[in-house]
Each structure stands twice: as structure tokens, then as C-alpha cells.
Symmetry: C2
Subunit: 370 residues, 2 copies
């Protein structure tokens, strides 16, 4: 039991320190919008602090992976017979964050919140209200639909899943055809990420309602990330996914949805590893897509684009807490080389979904302009 | 620490007893089909035993709610420095089961499996392979789509979510119109249940591929179950849900999908509490639906149906471990009174999803026959 006592002791010390530092924390905490129905915790205050409450009567240690600086997380303290509570040492960045619990050394999700697929597992999620959250809010506007399709994939000998966003009115005007954006998730995520974490459908619904974009379809499928371990992104071979996307999914979508099935009306974008995929596939297949988007997912150079069919637009973005200079420098070089390029830096966000929500919001109005 | 030591002690005693009883357990365990990608546990053997493996190095007690007899669950024993393992004392019923862990007194999900919304929370799920699992298997046949819609609801001042199954070919033949089944989940579940746990879409795809049914649309929405505590079903008032369903959802579906929008081509069915809702709403609105299905969700009597527009079909079902006599007796009385009634009893299943998958498989070919 010595180890357990040592853990309890260190928790008490750290929590005491944290309490002192938190004297300015505003006590206006409200349940996170991602909580399961009826669950009061986790909570978030107006400054962006997150507070957790976990019931584990006989546990010796409960830790939350979310916290300032990333690695340390937030250690909870036992504040009653059965309850562990704790508050982050400082405000978290705006937007969505994945997290999990460590209960007596085991990894579990917070039973208070919904789960989101990230890090190759369903993780807990929390939402820190953002000053610009209106652009992805659920509003009283016409809504598009998100539908699950199962498309045949000979190359992988199975039916594969994708989600297809069709804009409001798609079912009504049966003669209208639409351009298509193929939009990829990041490492460890799957085809649910852009709808669940990213609110891609609500971003589109709102932009369409405001008249800021022409409606288009978004297709989101699985980028086969699980074959790859984190830290080995350079070993990623895009071939098998390229076959699924270009030879199987695109023909299926063009056959089963009212698409404008030419290069001029087809875009590809992706976040993080999905950006790497977009980079490789657009360079390999320049006659398939004409709009390219890398969201925290690398850059293009004029050299690698040289001699190929020119894209109509290149969009490169990242969070200000990533490497914005690299993005801006790459954009400047592409511009000098005569490419139509737009770069975007999301302020005060890192390699997280708020960066990508904002990136989609910036990218969408630039697509399919002609 | 006395309580904790007592718990460890009792776990050891019980596990010892279980080990003796499990001498005939076949060691052909395989990962459950509902595991998260790459996860090896939980596992299931060919006899239907379930085996669990949880990492929790410093925990004093880990229990799984799933087990013989329901209440007791399965207590795990520490079999290494960090690992807790255990096997159910006997084979579980075929099909899907919800469960959760109790780790040092706290309720958590098994990090190895996918989560399913039941008991008003996202719970862990495990699948015991069934002898008849072929009818809901993912096969190389044309697949329909399941789409999320957000429909405006004035009565609840929000946009509400529903899932709509459209059969294969829906997008291709743009003149064809379809009948609609409104299909409700049970208490503590939500509009995701029939697709995720029930595989309603795959059941339909397979029946259509075999030519056993005429294609129809299925609409699944939230029955507002959270207002209600378990054990208080009799206090349930259907009015607010009836307004959402009949006055808001049905007109929205008829306006946005290619439906045959008359009574003769509209069915309602539900499982458990969804059956109670079906019972009430079909009796209140006999001119809206012409096919009624109660799946482990009560019965109709000739008296309550008397004097109303007659349904084309009444379908009543339950598992053999529920109260099949009540279902069969009710069907006999309805038949005597001149109603077209079909009853179905799912063999060797209880108040669980295998009963309802089989019920949908029996019900679907009976719908919209003319």
C-alpha cells in the first residue's frame, strides 16, 4: 500500500498549491455542452477553466489528462466520501478538447461526457465556449442532412463507411447538381470527427443561411489511420487510401448523389494527417481535384506543384500555437510563383479542432467560386 | 483501508469458486465484434461466455455489470501487476448486451469496447454471436443510407434530430415513392439505438437483397425518455412526443423525402417504452398509421381498438424469457375479434436487442403488402 499512500500524499500537496493559484477563478461554472443528458459535470466557467467531478468511492488516485501545458493534466482530490473534484490550473484554449481519466492507474472515460473518436479510441470530450462559437451553433435555419453511406470497396474487400453532408434543399430541387469537398480527419480519428467534433454540417448550414457560400456536398470517410503509429507519419503510404478515395468512393458518390462530377467542382482538404493525405493525393492526381486545403497538415512548395495541372486554389492554415510562420512563408512563396493561395492562422489555438472549425469556415466561401 | 481489504478478500473467494465451475469453458475466445479498433478485450467464446480484461494497476476492486442472473455481474481478479481479468460464470444470451464497469466503486465504461446509448447514458456494449446473426450481417449487397436530419420543432423550440433509413436505389430512381415506418427506441435509449444496437439498416438491406420485402423508409427519432425515471412508466404522458411525431416530424419527412404520405403507407412500431408510445399514439391517431408494432412493449385489447379505424396489421412480440403467454393470449383475443394480428416470440432471449432485431426481421415483410 506504500505506493498508494505516496500518491495520495502528492495529490494533496499539488492540490493545495493549485487552490492558492485559483483564488481568481470565477465561480460561474456551467455544465459543458458536450455532457451526456442530465450530467452536471464536467463544467466550464466564463474564463475557460474546466472543473471535473468523478464518483469513485474507493479509488486512491483520479487524474484528468486535460490541463495546462498538456502533459501534467489535472489531479483531482477527494472532497467527500465518494467524490473526486478538481479544476484546471488555468483557462483552457477555446473550443473542443479530448481527454480521459486515469483512475488508480487505469485509463477510463469521464462518465459525464459524450465520447469522440480520437487517438484511435473513443475519448471524453469537453467544449470551452469560444468567443466566435456562433458560426458553428445550432440555429433556427434550414439544415442539411448528414448521411451514413456504405460503399463497396473491392480493394479492401469490404463495404466501407462514409458520411455525406447534403445541403438544405437537396431533397427538394431534384434537378440541381452540386460540387463536392472530400474532407479528411486526422491521425487517430475517423469519419465521424468532422461532424461530431467539427460541426462541419452546422458550419455549412449557417454559411448557406447567411448567403456566404454556394451550397456544396461534403464527403468524409476513414483515412485508414490505425495502420500507423503516432510519431511515424513519415512512413505513411497513401496508396491504399488513394485507391479507396479516387477509384471507389468518388465514382460511388458521383453515381449516387447529384454531383457535378468534374475536376473544376471537386475539392480535397484534410486536417493534420488528413492534410498529408490531401497533399500526396492532390499531387498524385492533379486532374481529379482543383481546390486543395491543408489544415495543420503541412504545406505545398512551388517545386512539387511545377509542371502539373494548376489548382484553382491552395488553402493552408494552422493555429497560432502551431507554426504559423511556416504556413505564411509557404503561402508567400506560392503566391510569388503565381499560385492562387490563401493562408489562415487561427488565433490562440493549437493543434485542435477549434483551429479546424475556423479553417473550414474560412475555406468554404473560397471553394467553387466560378 | 479495512473496507478495501474486505473487498479484495471477497473477490478472491468468489473468483476461486468461479474458476472451479468454469472447467468446461472452451478456450476459443475471440474479441467481441463491438470492440474499438485494435482492442483485444472483451472476448467471447463459442459457448457465449464473455471474458474481460481491464488495466487498473492500483485499483482494489473491478467488477463488470454483465453476468448470469443480471444483478451480480462478474467480479474480476487481479492476474498481474496491472491487469484484472474475469469470465462470466456461464454463457450469456445471444446478441447485444449493455454493461459497465465498477472500478473502486465508480461507474466507468470498458475502454475496450464501443459505447451505446442505453439507461440514459453511453454504456459499453458486447456482442454474443447468435446462430442467426446472418440476417443482420454486413454483406456485399446494395446498401441503403442512414441519414441524420435536424427537423424544426416549434412545440419544443428547437431543431430535433432523427435518423432516416432510405433503401438502396433511393437516390437513383428519382420518381419512386416509398412507405414509411416510424420506429421507436426504448427507455433510456435514443434515436441512435435502432441503427447502432439494432442494425435496422442492415436487416433492411439484407431483406431487400433477398427480395423478401418491398423497400420502405424507416424514421427513428428521440422519444424524450429522459423526462421519465425507470419504474415510473405508468406516469409517462405521450402528449408532447405525439405532437413532435405527428405534427412536426411526419410533415417534415413527407415534405423532404419521397414518401407515400397516406395512412395506408405509414406504420409505427417501438420497443419497450417505444411500444407504449406506439400503443398510445396509434390509438389516439388511428387515421395516421395503419400498421402497428409492439416489440416487448405491451399489447392491444379488442376493447380499446373498438369503434376506431381498423389497423391493417397488429404485430406483437417479445422474448421467450419475458412474458410470451401474455403476447400469445393477446394475439388470440385480437384474432377472435377479427383483427389481422401476428405474434412472434424470440427464442431464448430476454428484454434485449436480439429480441428486437428478430422482431423487426419478422415485422418488415408484413408491412405495406398491398
Amino acid at each position: 500500500m506504500k505506493l498508494k499512500q505516496a500518491i495520495i500524499f502528492s495529490v494533496a500537496i499539488l492540490a493545495g498549491g493549485a487552490c492558492l493559484a485559483q483564488s481568481d477563478v470565477k465561480e460561474d461554472f456551467k455544465p459543458s455542452t458536450l455532457n451526456q443528458p442530465g450530467q452536471l459535470y464536467p463544467q466550464v466557467n466564463s474564463q475557460g477553466y474546466a472543473r471535473f467531478r468523478i464518483v469513485a468511492p474507493y479509488a486512491d488516485s483520479v487524474k484528468v489528462s486535460l490541463g495546462l501545458g498538456g502533459r501534467g493534466g489535472t489531479k483531482l482530490t477527494k472532497t467527500g466520501d465518494s467524490v473526486w473534484t478538481g479544476t484546471t490550473e488555468g483557462p483552457m484554449d477555446e473550443g473542443f478538447h479530448y481527454y480521459h481519466l486515469t483512475v488508480d492507474g487505469g485509463t477510463f472515460n469521464d462518465p459525464g461526457t459524450l465520447n469522440f473518436y480520437g487517438s484511435t479510441r473513443w475519448e471524453s470530450g469537453i467544449e470551452i465556449p469560444a468567443h466566435d462559437q456562433d458560426f458553428y451553433a445550432l440555429k433556427d435555419v434550414p439544415h442539411g442532412n448528414v448521411q451514413q453511406i456504405l460503399f463497396p470497396s473491392k480493394s479492401t474487400s469490404t463495404s466501407r463507411r462514409a458520411f455525406v453532408y447534403t445541403p438544405p434543399g437537396y431533397e427538394k430541387d431534384k434537378s440541381k447538381k452540386y460540387p463536392v469537398l472530400y474532407l479528411q480527419h486526422g491521425w487517430g480519428e475517423d469519419e465521424t470527427a468532422w461532424s461530431n467534433q467539427g460541426h462541419a454540417n452546422l458550419i455549412m448550414d449557417n454559411l448557406i443561411a447567411e448567403g456566404k457560400i454556394k451550397p456544396f456536398i461534403i464527403v468524409m470517410t476513414y483515412g485508414m489511420t490505425n495502420e500507423l503509429k503516432w510519431g511515424h507519419l513519415k512512413e505513411f503510404k497513401v496508396d491504399s487510401f488513394q485507391t479507396v478515395l479516387v477509384d471507389e468512393l468518388i465514382p460511388y458518390v458521383d453515381a449516387n448523389f447529384r454531383t457535378i462530377s468534374d475536376r473544376a467542382h471537386r475539392a480535397m482538404a484534410g486536417l493534420s494527417m488528413g492534410g498529408f493525405e490531401t497533399h500526396s493525393i492532390t499531387l498524385n492526381k492533379p486532374d481529379v481535384f482543383s481546390y486543395y486545403g491543408l489544415l495543420s497538415g503541412g504545406i505545398y512548395t512551388p517545386e512539387e506543384l511545377g509542371g502539373k495541372t494548376k489548382p484553382k486554389l491552395i488553402f493552408i492554415s494552422c493555429g497560432s500555437r502551431e507554426n504559423p510562420d511556416r504556413v505564411n512563408d509557404a503561402a508567400a512563396k506560392l503566391k510569388d510563383a503565381g499560385f492562387n493561395v490563401v493562408s489562415f492562422v487561427s488565433q490562440n489555438t493549437a493543434h485542435e479542432f477549434q483551429t479546424w472549425r475556423r479553417s473550414l469556415h474560412e475555406l468554404a466561401p473560397l471553394l467553387f467560386k466560378d
